[in-house]
Amino acid sequence: MTEPVRVFLDSTVHLFAYRSAKTNSSLVLGGMDGVLFQPVVSYKTLDEVQRRTRELYGKDIAGLVRWNLLMLPKLIVVTEEEIAPLLSRYDEHVRDKADLPHICAYFAANCRYLVTSDRRLTKMEIKKFVNFKSPQEFVEEVLKTKPYDTPGGI
């Protein structure tokens, strides 16, 4: 069996997918079958998603969301130990340091795509090294599916 393509999914993808089924973020997650495409997140992604869902919907929903996210088929969760050795290598290319661990997780897991709705992140110098896709681009170009027409392609 050929190895699935690894796709790093940042917190925006998960959070917008919970808000509405009619989003490209939802289609992206639907494409993560663990066979052709393997989802990758970092522990920080899990924390961010849980923290924001707690703010929006309360702790019970946040708990369900964390459990649900971990059910993604063949999910890879990149640990802090895997990220730490890469931080200094990419530091100068990432303006907002809060984004640095996610970029390093992408490299640590040997991902082919990083899907995010955060256009500020995709404009940083690191774009020379990272294959960024918005959810809409990923749906159109990689999943070859008709995307939803959503603000910012979320």
């Binding site: 509405s20 009619k22 961010e48 924001r52 649900n68």
Partner: protein
């Protein structure tokens, strides 16, 4: 997801896995089946969560506002972990 639903799903999952294992499927097939089952459980959980929270198609302004909130959360999480590590 309710506890009852989880028990039913677990039974179904085990039944399916037992069936395919007993049919003598090889490792590749087992991996495919396990992935399909996890995807099924994930999507069921996603639908369950969506049924419990307000669903809305967001405007451009709402998307931008939410992105700002997510960036704030990202910065706070990063800062707290950095402080804890010192």
């Amino acid at each position: 997801m309710s506890a009852t639903t989880q028990v039913v799903l677990k039974d179904k999952e085990l039944e399916k896995i037992d069936y395919f294992v007993n049919m003598g499927y090889f490792e590749d097939e087992k991996a495919l089946i396990e992935s399909a089952l996890k995807k099924f459980l994930y999507e069921l959980g996603l639908a369950d969560i969506r049924s419990r929270i307000p669903q809305a198609e967001l405007s451009q302004e709402e998307v931008e506002a939410e992105l700002e909130e997510i960036r704030r959360v990202k910065r706070e999480t990063f800062a707290e972990e950095k402080a804890a590590a010192v």
